[in-house]
Symmetry: C2
Subunit: 121 residues, 2 copies
DNA sequence: AACAATCTGTAGAATTTTCTGCACGTCCTC
DNA sequence: GAGGACGTGCAGAAAATTCTACAGATTGTT
């Protein structure tokens, strides 16, 4: 469903953050130097795959995400969990908790935050 | 560092689980039908990239992981966090806690588990 | 109208990923 | 030692990904 190549993800990331941009603007936000035409080939593919929509505005086309950031995140996290945690998020949680070395207090605070729907992630 | 294509990851996953296998065995564990030679081209690439080692045993070569499962997991999780959580694991934690809808008791149990080093993930 | 700046479309090259076919080598059995 | 089962190596095809080059369209300015 929501599988992206590295380049495609770079584009989506920028559009998720900024909402609606034309190619030259995306190019400016790109995390590495990239030629305008190279960038546009990403856009064309993402359009074809249905992950982006665009509309004409002034002289240029403006692109915006059609695939939601949140659902992409869930899909990718799910794959990671499948591959490395045998499908259970528990092991992932466990790993994160260990890595973050959270105190009981911080943990409870997190839990409180987590129970306020919805997360704006 | 530890970037894998989809196919490479399928191979690594099997070898992480089983330790040391010859091509025909990996082929049998593969999650989809794949020809022996197609599989071997993955092995050759993974060898070149240094993610696998192999040794001759009997008539065949046996392959085993050189890149550790745990470090790959950390790297991929890190990328995910960078892309979707602005680099902080907190948001990821928050998301997981919300999704898992854990009770305070379960949470504390998880925390207890997490503080027993090391996780065998 | 002429010009520059900016944007589009398209054709295709280079590279990587994924897969196929086939020739040859080794081991076992008859 | 002939044949079959099973393995390797390699050459390269097919498809996807990433990138380049260029021709032409649109907008704004003089």
């Amino acid at each position: 469903m929501a599988r992206f190549t590295a380049g495609e993800l770079e584009v989506m990331r920028i559009l998720w953050e900024h909402g609606e941009l034309k190619p030259a603007e995306i190019q400016r936000h790109f995390p590495r130097p990239i030629k305008n035409a190279a960038l546009r080939s990403y856009l064309t593919i993402l359009l074809q795959k249905g992950h982006l929509a665009r509309r004409s505005k002034g002289k240029a086309f403006y692109y915006r995400p059609k695939t939601r950031r949140e659902s992409t995140f869930r899909a990718m996290l799910g794959e990671l969990v499948d591959t490395f945690c045998g499908g259970s998020s528990e092991a992932l949680l466990c790993h994160l908790l260990a890595k973050e070395k959270l105190s009981t207090e911080e943990l409870l605070e997190l839990q409180r935050m987590a129970q306020q729907p919805p997360t704006s992630l």
